[in-house]
């Protein structure tokens, strides 16, 4: 684990050494706040919870996380540092894990900075803070799933635009798979697929967390989702190091 943590520490510092961190965090906070108070009708609902906020986070991540991951391997290729990193004595999966952990920690920091919302609901009413915490855990897991997927895509191509568009599209498939539009369509035609779509959907799993339910099977879902795409990332990297 140690080499992975060393890589993660370097990566995280690199985010903050460039404007990437500031731009990402500011845009995330502005959009999250604006959507919660306008479309989410935070005040008008008259309820002390963060449901309006949580309902927008996966959709924000859908665009912001691929922006974070698109440069993950492409940048190493552009600078040639991939050759340096992968000839240091660390197993390749540790480099993959390290990069993922750094990006995940970064998303965690961005999420943590939404704390004024949490303070606001606690001043205005007495929300169930357990439910709010579980909602945040859910957000972090959604971010992790998108990150793992986006990182694997970025290992696939050295073109950052392609990496971004492809990652958004793939994340969207997993986000929308459980939505009524998709499942109702499948229900009438291929009920088997509807069930599969529902169980693969990131949004469906996330719903439980926002209601305060941390189910073991949902945790297993996210863990295997992340694990699978990190594995894909390592395999892809092994085959396409030099291009």
């Amino acid at each position: 684990m140690r080499p992975a943590l060393i890589v993660a520490r370097r990566e995280l510092a690199a985010y903050f050494a460039t404007p990437v961190a500031t731009v990402f965090i500011v845009i995330f906070l502005v959009l999250a706040g604006a959507l919660t108070f306008t479309l989410g009708n935070f005040f008008g609902r008259g309820q002390a919870d963060l449901i309006p906020f949580f309902s927008f986070v996966p959709w924000l991540f859908l665009f912001l996380v691929p922006a974070l991951t698109m440069r993950l391997w492409a940048e190493e290729r552009r600078l040639g540092t991939i050759e340096l990193l992968l000839t240091l004595p660390l197993p390749q999966w540790q480099a993959v894990l390290g990069k993922f952990l750094a990006a995940w920690a970064f998303c965690g920091i961005a999420l943590a900075l939404t704390f004024p919302l949490w303070i606001t609901v606690n001043i205005l009413g007495s929300p169930d803070n357990g439910v709010i915490l579980s909602g945040y855990v859910g957000c972090l897991l959604v971010a992790g799933a998108y990150l793992a997927l986006g990182a694997a895509v970025s290992a696939l191509t050295r073109n950052q635009v392609i990496a971004f568009v492809l990652a958004v599209a793939l994340c969207f498939i997993f986000a929308a798979a459980g939505s009524p539009v998709v499942t109702e369509f499948l229900d009438t035609r291929l009920p088997v697929l509807a069930e599969i779509a529902r169980s693969l959907s990131v949004a469906e799993r996330f719903g439980g967390f926002t209601r305060g339910i941390i189910a073991v099977r949902d945790l297993i879902y996210f863990a295997s989702f992340i694990g699978f795409f990190l594995f894909v990332n390592a395999v892809v990297l092994d085959h396409r190091k030099a291009d």
Binding site: P3, R10, A14, L84, T87, L88, K241
Partner: protein, 242 residues
């Protein structure tokens, strides 16, 4: 004792062409091997395979007895590698960058600080230790890459164009450094500066179109023509005409 670097029948094919074709050689302790060839001859590809970055299509490479494909971490521990173009992370400071590679190599605390300081002293980087690498000149960047390769005092050094972009004084210093380290190490340097071969190498391999065309001490090469330059041109151009 077995050679520190052993390369057997190393071959790399890309779609449509063979970049490295059946290359075999070994390098023992105390040898400085100059790896010569025109651009695109397969020098960097061979070095990348030796460093464990690119898997060979065929053949094997071993560093201190460890196969670079089967035991990659063990092989890389014994290796100091300067990749082509000396890539570094531009936003990091010189100390930060060297400490990062040192930590990955398992050094901590005062040993890490000592090794970082020593590597910077060897490559004359103390003056810029706290500067971000992106603000440095090309010669300094190259030396940061070199310092990274020397940090852990490895028995095997593979340096892809170590003096490219350096001014004449810096070139002289790097060659001095290589000569001083030579007795304890097996060193491979690639270059297309022929005078360098005469200056530091105990042996030269000329590679053209992925194949080894000459493997001899520089003095023997010089005997074949009036200058190394002429020998190089004859060997590598002759290959292309054939």
């Amino acid at each position: 004792m077995a050679a520190l670097i052993e390369i057997e029948r190393l071959t790399k094919r890309f779609a449509g062409f063979t970049a490295v074709d059946d290359v075999s050689f070994s390098v023992e302790r105390g040898e400085v091997l100059g790896f010569l060839g025109p651009n695109g001859a397969g020098k960097s590809t061979t070095m990348r395979m030796l460093a464990g970055f690119m898997p060979p299509t065929f053949g094997t490479a071993r560093i201190c007895g460890a196969d670079v494909v089967d035991q990659p971490v063990a092989a890389k521990r014994h290796l100091g590698f300067l990749p082509e173009g000396a890539p570094t992370y531009p936003e990091m400071t010189v100390t930060g960058f060297l400490a990062f590679t040192g930590r990955i190599r398992g050094f901590r605390g005062s040993e890490l600080a000592d090794r970082t300081a020593h590597a910077m002293a060897l490559t004359q980087l103390e003056g810029v230790r706290l500067q971000p690498i992106e603000t440095l000149s090309k010669g300094f960047k190259r030396r940061v890459g070199l310092a990274q390769a020397l940090l852990h005092d490895p028995p095997v050094l593979v340096l892809d164009e170590p003096t490219d972009g350096l001014d004449p004084n810096q070139k002289h210093e790097v060659r001095d450094l290589i000569r001083r380290m030579a007795p304890e190490k097996a060193i491979v340097i690639s270059t297309h500066i022929l005078e360098e071969v005469g200056a530091v190498c105990t042996r030269a391999i000329i590679i053209a179109r992925g194949k080894v065309v000459v493997d001899a001490p520089p003095s023997v090469l010089e005997e074949q023509g009036s200058t190394l330059d002429e020998v190089f041109r004859r060997l590598t151009l002759g290959q292309e005409a054939a």
